[in-house]
């Protein structure tokens, strides 16, 4: 069987079943549910292929869409992170939520998200990838809004959905353009696309999708607002996995879309801007989760920044950073949740001294914090590898940006990882409960892995760095990871940023205490303004079109008719040759009478007069039928017209007189529309009566009605025989109309009796 598909399917099914499992075993749901992802994590770890391995089966051949999955170094790295951190988060959820009712949904949604995310990184078909991509947006929407009775949770959820969903649609457009141009749905089969005439469109659309998903500047604002989600969700989706989907896809497509000036410049600028924005905004926060969120924005910027460079070395550095970041940031988020749980506060400014109450947590936090500072082995290694790349040849602007980001990370790590435990406590902080084992396991394991991973660089490089470089770097990285790069520029850089960061950390409390809240930065507000703008445009548009006035709808319809017919006439550009027949005096008289009747109807002020003129018109039509060989029609017309007039009179006899007339302008517009329709119809009728583009089939009836259908009155034969089905329908219409009239009448009487309904 196709193993990646099996992994996704099994975890998806598990997600559907999770609420039921929770209902059965609320206290152990996390322990049990974390096992399958843990198993898959082990599987992916053991299976990392040197070169990519592909599974495929047809799905929608007409569209060239296949069920194809591909496991290569890049996919493997992300799959390991998704399943591994997922397992830790599920376990953690048990401690975080306990047996709180409704937590079953949380488990279920987390697993559904996990499966979708796994799909994103394993899919090889563009449309399949997009399908999973959207699934992560939707599950993320439901998870951010999990505490749905809080207004800001709902706002954060809708905002995340709109931003990532909007980007998703751009991505879809981009992918479709690529598929259409290459004729190839499989991502692995796309060669370099830089030469394609639509390259710019492809790149721009795909980049918008990736930038929104990965919270790049200027779309970064949704991520901090998504922190209204429960902490396990923030840790998992908004730091370790989902926000990396965009980065993943950029990495995945770097072979096809990368290597151009546009690519390098865009990614460098956007990544750099994101790094600076994230770092600076993070330092203005006091809420632990928002601090972490903004620092995640900065880290995501770093990843994009690295991807701008391309090549095997950058790929390897990228892999190291993604791995290190997922471990320490995941751990720190989980620690933040545990702090919240322990001290009922997430205020980094006021928290302190928690190490006595939670020593294990303090240890985990310290280890993870060291990682974020770039001191713990794995993170150190990642940082050195990155700086190595930036130094050869030296790229000063990039080094400065990266330096700011690194120093900021040191300060933020101090604030979130050390201060709450070792800083001075605010006495107002409540004395909460102690964290229990499930709450501690996750952060501890992740933090320790961050240390261990760095101590065995060669081993991890073989499993992660090398394969990633092979997958997206176009070859093997000539410099395998090493913990110790010797004394040199990279080390000096590290020491420098560390020192700078520590200085910022020391200055931070005083700064926060003094700093008046800055006017909140623009993009979140811009989103709101955009939303409001859209709604008011929508409202104005809808009020104009859907104004409730039947007359307006009629006018619109008639105007549309005139426009369309005029356009067609202009296109047609006819040179009509009309052969006119003569009219006998009595015929002309009849026509004149009808014209006068119409005029009278239009000008009538009394109801009765209007109805009478209608009758006159009807009888005129009947006479016309009689004069031109249609006695049957004439008879029917007379009967129906009489009935119509009687009905009109009966219906309106008791009703009031006409309301006052319309204004002159209204009448002028209406007259214009009416004349337009009249002229058009007259002209078209005249043309149609002259223009025969085929023998009428009625000749057949005139010749064969007696022989075939044994009837002399051809019209009757057609009605009851050749076109009996029309007559059947006609009778149905008549009966239902009768039923409707009776029903309306009865309901009306009932309503009148019972007062207003």
């Amino acid at each position: 069987m196709v193993t990646p598909a099996l992994a996704i399917l099994s975890l998806f099914t598990l997600g559907l079943l999770a609420p039921f499992l929770f209902a059965l075993l609320p206290r152990h749901a996390g322990k049990l549910l974390c096992l399958p992802p843990a198993f898959w994590c082990g599987w992916f770890w053991s299976k990392t292929p040197a070169s990519g391995q592909t599974w495929t089966s047809p799905w929608i051949p007409e569209l060239g869409i296949t069920f194809s999955f591909r496991l290569d170094g890049l996919a493997s790295l992300f799959a390991i992170l998704i399943t591994g951190i997922g397992a830790m988060v599920l376990l953690y959820t048990e401690g975080y939520c306990g047996a709180k009712p409704g937590s079953g949904r949380l488990y279920g949604l987390l697993l559904l998200f996990l499966a979708s995310m796994l799909g994103v990184v394993l899919a090889d078909d563009a449309i399949l990838l997009f399908l999973f991509w959207e699934a992560t947006s939707v599950t993320s929407f439901l998870l951010i809004g999990f505490e749905h009775e809080r207004a800001n949770a709902r706002r954060g959820a809708v905002q995340a959905l709109m931003v990532t969903g909007g980007g998703g649609l751009a991505l879809l457009a981009g992918l479709l353009v690529i598929v259409q141009q290459t004729g190839q749905g499989r991502i692995s089969a796309w060669g370099p696309l830089a030469g394609d005439p639509l390259y710019l469109a492809m790149f721009a659309l795909v980049a918008i999708g990736c930038f929104t998903k990965s919270a790049q500047f200027p779309f970064h604002f949704w991520l901090p607002n998504a922190m209204t989600a429960p902490t396990p969700v923030s840790a998992y989706l908004h730091s370790a996995t989902m926000v990396k989907a965009g980065v993943y896809l950029l990495a995945r497509l770097s072979g096809s879309l990368g290597g151009t000036e546009v690519w390098t410049w865009t990614l460098t600028l956007v990544g750099g801007a994101t790094m600076l924005t994230g770092t600076l905004l993070a330092l203005r926060q006091t809420d632990l989760k928002r601090l972490l969120a903004y620092s995640t924005v900065a880290a995501l910027g770093t990843m994009v920044f690295v991807l701008a460079r391309g090549g095997a070395e950058a790929a390897s550095a990228f892999a190291a950073f993604v791995l290190a970041h997922a471990l320490y940031k995941g751990a720190l988020f989980l620690v933040a949740g545990a702090i919240d749980h322990t001290a009922d506060s997430r205020d980094a400014f006021r928290l302190g001294g928690l190490w006595q109450r939670a020593p294990v947590l303090a240890t985990a936090s310290t280890l993870a914090g060291l990682g974020m500072m770039g001191v713990a082995p794995l993170a150190f290694l990642a940082k050195e590898t990155l700086v190595d790349g930036l130094l050869s040849p030296p790229d000063v602007p990039s080094l400065i940006v990266f330096g700011v980001m690194a120093a900021g990370a040191v300060a933020i790590a101090g604030i979130v990882a050390f201060r709450p435990f070792f800083g001075k406590a605010d006495p107002a902080i409540a004395d909460g409960h102690k964290p229990d084992a499930p709450l501690l396991t996750g952060p501890a394991v992740l933090a320790v892995l961050g240390i261990v991973g760095g101590l065995t660089p060669t081993f991890v490089f073989e499993r992660i760095g090398g394969p990633v470089a092979a997958a997206i770097g176009g070859g093997t990285d000539p410099h395998p990871w090493a913990l110790w790069h010797g004394f040199g520029a990279p080390l000096a850089f590290s020491v420098g940023t560390l020192a700078l960061g520590l200085a910022v950390y020391r200055a931070w409390p005083a700064w926060i205490a003094r700093a008046a809240p800055w006017p909140s930065f623009g993009f979140d507000r811009a989103y709101d303004a955009g939303l409001r703008g859209t709604v008011s445009v929508a409202r104005a548009f809808t009020r104009t079109i859907q104004n409730g006035r039947l007359r307006a709808y009629l006018q619109t319809t008639i105007a549309t008719f005139l426009v369309l017919v005029t356009l067609a006439a202009v296109r047609w550009n006819p040179s009509p040759q009309i052969r006119l027949d003569t009219a006998l005096p009595h015929e002309a008289l009849l026509a004149l009478a009808m014209l006068l009747a119409v005029l009278a109807a239009v000008r009538s002020v009394s109801r009765l007069a209007a109805v009478v003129t209608l009758g006159v018109v009807g009888f005129g039509v009947a006479l016309t039928y009689a004069l031109f060989g249609a006695p049957d029609l004439a008879m029917t017309q007379i009967a129906v017209e009489t009935l119509t007039v009687i009905l009109f009179v009966l219906t309106f006899y008791h009703l009031p007189r006409f309301a006052r007339g319309s204004g002159t302008r209204t009448r002028a517009v209406d007259a214009l529309l009416a004349t337009g329709v009249g002229a058009t119809m007259a002209a078209i009728t005249l043309v149609a009566s002259q223009r025969l583009l085929g023998t009428p089939i009625s000749a057949h009836f005139a010749e064969n009605s007696l022989a075939e259908a044994h009837g002399r009155n051809v019209v009757n034969v057609i009605l009851v025989d050749y076109r009996g089905l029309d007559t059947l329908g006609e009778i149905t219409v008549l009966s239902i109309a009768g039923l409707g009239v009776v029903a309306l009448w009865t309901f009306g009487r009932r309503a009148a009796k019972g007062g207003s309904a």
């Binding site: 859907q546 104004n547 409730g548 039947l550 006119l580 027949d581 006998l584 026509a591 009808m594 119409v598 005029l599 239009v602 109801r607 109805v611 209608l614 018109v617 016309t624 039928y625 031109f628 060989g629 249609a630 049957d632 029609l633 029917t636 129906v640 009935l643 009905l647 006409f658 309301a659 006052r660 319309s662 209406d670 529309l673 009416a674 329709v677 009249g678 007259a682 009728t685 005249l686 009566s689 009428p696 009625s698 009836f701 005139a702 010749e703 009605s705 002399r712 051809v714 019209v715 057609i718 006609e730 008549l734 109309a737 009768g738 009239v741 309306l744 009448w745 309901f747 309503a751 309904a757």
Partner: protein, 115 residues
Amino acid sequence: MTLLLAIVIGALYAGGVYMMLRKTVVKLLIGLAMIGNAANLLIFVSSSVVRSHPPIVPKGSSAVPAPYADPLTQALILTAIVIGFAVLAFALALVKRVYGEVGSLALEEMTVSDE
């Protein structure tokens, strides 16, 4: 005569449209009825009008002698007349009922369903 009839059709459409756009429901219905008549006449005229025999096979003959009026057009118009009448009757009943609820025949006052 075709020209005259085409003009009549045009006038019927123009009159019907104008009536439909007035403020009261009664005129709206009269307008619809006029347009119904116009459409039937249009069908009649657009397959050419000739002073001719009705499409009836005379005794002792096997086919309708030329020139004859197009029997298919007539069948279509017959169907259309009946359907048009049925629908118009229903519309009249509806308007009567609307008047019962709204207490007015002015179209301006009928915007509740679009609020």
